[in-house]
Point group: C2
């Protein structure tokens, strides 16, 4: 039998916090058979700012990916989608500071040049390296700087290099986002580590969000892909910062089998354990992304139950976490539940207001559709870094859980002056 | 033959402006056979703040309405939908400061009490008065104050009272929104006047938006309804401030036939002229609402053409005007066209980036999907109160035009502290 085990808890090393959750580098961020590095190659301009990362498996790894649904996908995404189909990969090069998106045919040329440079430098076969880019859209990559950086990037690879890689993929993120857990699967202790970057443009169906999972588990690419899909649906695809979806969003998982565990097959206990492990890590990373939402001061969890279907529950919950009026109310610490009702109504789902209950951080503010007079109490209760909104439509069994951050002045400041 | 004629142009009397357009009270805001009033009955608490309005036709008028699509409609909306079906009405009572929404069964009781009070005081038949409410959701109406105010409200009715009515329906609006035009239809000069309130929660499919059109034209309720639908689709349903949709949105049109013009029938030149007139007035009001968007500093018009269908054009244009990243970029005066591409991609419509052109206030920033290097020029060009974004997908004949405002610090300030 398998059992989940947490390898470590996050060190609180972040500068900005939307509450209890703070990112940073966790202890034990090492996965057998993987090395990583992060360097400054000069894309960001700022002296010494890390902007180029590499993750490398010592042998061919099974690979799975989930990508943005945007119809204006950046070149690296298009290239990765193609390469992931082969089922194996050796590693991933990632740059921050430039999205390599909307630059015409130049985009694919740059993406190929980046992967080729790593393939040559490491001495692995053509097509075995993947690539991600994040940053400003529409600006050509300073390709020379990147290519010049590759030898150093490869030279600095080390088994404890994931911390630097996690830092090098950041854009407006305040702190790096890392997670790691171990579990006993297939007779061995296996490790899964994850790193991610987020901040703005976060919405269901991915966002300016990059996430990478590395594991020494033994698992085929098709099975890994199933597990990743489940994990992403309940995490990265369930968080909203500003409803925008990026051209570059990518989540990749590499599994190199270094643990020597029995191969994880679908429909087994081991698979279940692996999915749980991956899902827990993905949710942890996704919540770090929300907590680091641009200018966020609170993480808001919306649990909506009692809907006539799961789809309706998700529709209404999404309408709430996407509402700018709801998010600004939480920024102001205002238990303005009327805006929550507005957002449910706007979603178009069936609702019987006379059955509606709303609870904010344990304080019931609406019972059977009517104000309970607990506004003052609720106002105190929600002035916390974490707000839990529980909505019961009392109509059926459909339920959904989504997360978002509040939106305040800092979001406007960051995004009205991002480039200028 | 009929001909459109402008009765007057808006007086520039507003305090805040998102550009050339400023609201206020226009000259000649009088429609034969209609009287109106606006008083302070104490809902808003602030001494003397107008919060109760009445519009009354001297005889039964044809009536048509367009209402919020929210599934949590406020009681006044539910009542109006029912009453509008009769085809005739004598007038409308409107309060600001309280939405009379999400208050359980009390909502309908209050809505009925408000209309009954007017019906008794004026001496018109039961069910002939309509009602709208706007303001905070979830708070019961101070019904006594309203009922106590009704005699004064009726007493102050006057043919030039629309200005005060327009002021009494405001919430976070900075200035009243009024329009009036005359046209020769059915052998007579007819007048159409309109008043509206807007500000926050503005999105396609209506918003915390109230709009009332009054005309002395002779027109049946079914024909009036057709005309109103066309006018609303191209105006109130084509503007976005913050994507949120209110529980109370209502547009009503009353036509009392006082002009003595020949009845306007469908399929005639007169009908066409009337639709054009109503549409022009509705668009003028809708743009005043955008210009008065909470904290707005710019009005942004997005014209998207060359899509494979009209539906796709509207989908992509809507994704752009709804994008917080696009709106904050315009607030910052940043011609960050990458965010426009992101928003188009996010909409899910087919796009061939190599054919994409983007023009910002006359400056082409993207040609065939590639940056033209005109960013500095564009940066100067868009630092104006009105920004026109022209996007050509060069794929087909589908086109759409939508309007929005930018979003800045002031929006956050207003909405994080609206109640507290």
């Amino acid at each position: 039998m398998s059992k989940l085990k947490t390898a470590s808890s996050p060190k609180k090393s972040g500068k900005r916090s939307a509450g209890a959750r703070v990112g940073g580098i966790v202890d034990g961020l090492v996965v057998p058979g993987f090395r990583a590095s992060g360097i400054s190659c000069g894309i960001k301009g700022k002296r010494g700012a890390l902007d180029l990362a590499l993750i490398l498996s010592d042998t061919d790894a099974s690979v799975a990916g989930v990508f943005t649904l945007s119809t204006t996908k950046a070149a690296p995404v298009i290239l990765d989608i193609k390469r992931v189909r082969s089922g194996t990969s050796r590693g991933i090069i990632v740059n921050s500071g430039c999205a390599n998106a909307s630059v015409g045919k130049l985009g694919m040329k740059t993406a190929l040049a980046m992967t080729s440079a790593v393939e040559s430098e490491v001495g692995v076969k053509k097509g075995s390296i993947l690539v991600s880019s994040t940053g400003v859209i529409g600006v050509p990559m300073p390709e020379e700087k990147v290519l010049k950086g590759v030898p150093k990037l490869v030279k600095e690879l080390s088994s404890d290099g994931l911390a630097r890689a996690a830092t090098a993929i950041m854009t407006t993120d305040v702190w790096p986002k890392t997670v790691v857990k171990k579990a006993r699967i297939g007779g061995k202790s296996i490790t899964v580590a994850g790193i991610a970057k987020g901040a703005g443009m976060i919405a269901p169906n991915m966002a300016t969000m990059l996430g990478y999972f590395l594991t020494d588990a033994t698992i085929g690419s098709a099975v890994l892909s199933s597990a990743l899909k489940v994990a992403v649906d309940g995490s990265f695809n369930s968080v909203v910062v500003d409803n925008d979806t990026s051209t570059n969003d990518t989540v990749l998982a590499l599994a190199n089998g270094f643990s020597g565990c029995k191969e994880i097959k679908k429909g087994t206990k081991d698979f279940e354990t692996f999915v749980k492990l991956l899902s827990a890590l993905a949710l942890e990373l996704a919540l770090l992304i929300v907590a680091d939402g641009e200018g966020a001061t609170r993480v808001v969890e919306v649990e909506l139950k009692g809907a006539t279907s799961k789809a309706n529950a998700r529709k209404a919950a999404r309408s709430i976490v996407e509402s700018l009026l709801v998010k600004t109310a939480f920024f102001g610490g205002d238990p303005n539940w009327g805006r929550i009702v507005m957002a449910i109504g706007k979603s178009g789902i069936k609702i019987n207001e006379e059955k509606l209950d709303i609870v904010l951080n344990g304080v019931c503010v609406v019972k059977n559709g009517i104000d309970t007079g607990a506004e003052k109490k609720a106002s105190v209760a929600i002035k916390r870094p974490e707000v839990k909104v529980l909505i019961d439509l009392n109509m059926g069994r459909g339920a959904a859980r989504l997360w978002t951050s509040d939106i305040g002045y800092e979001y406007i400041r960051i995004n009205s002056a991002y480039r200028t």
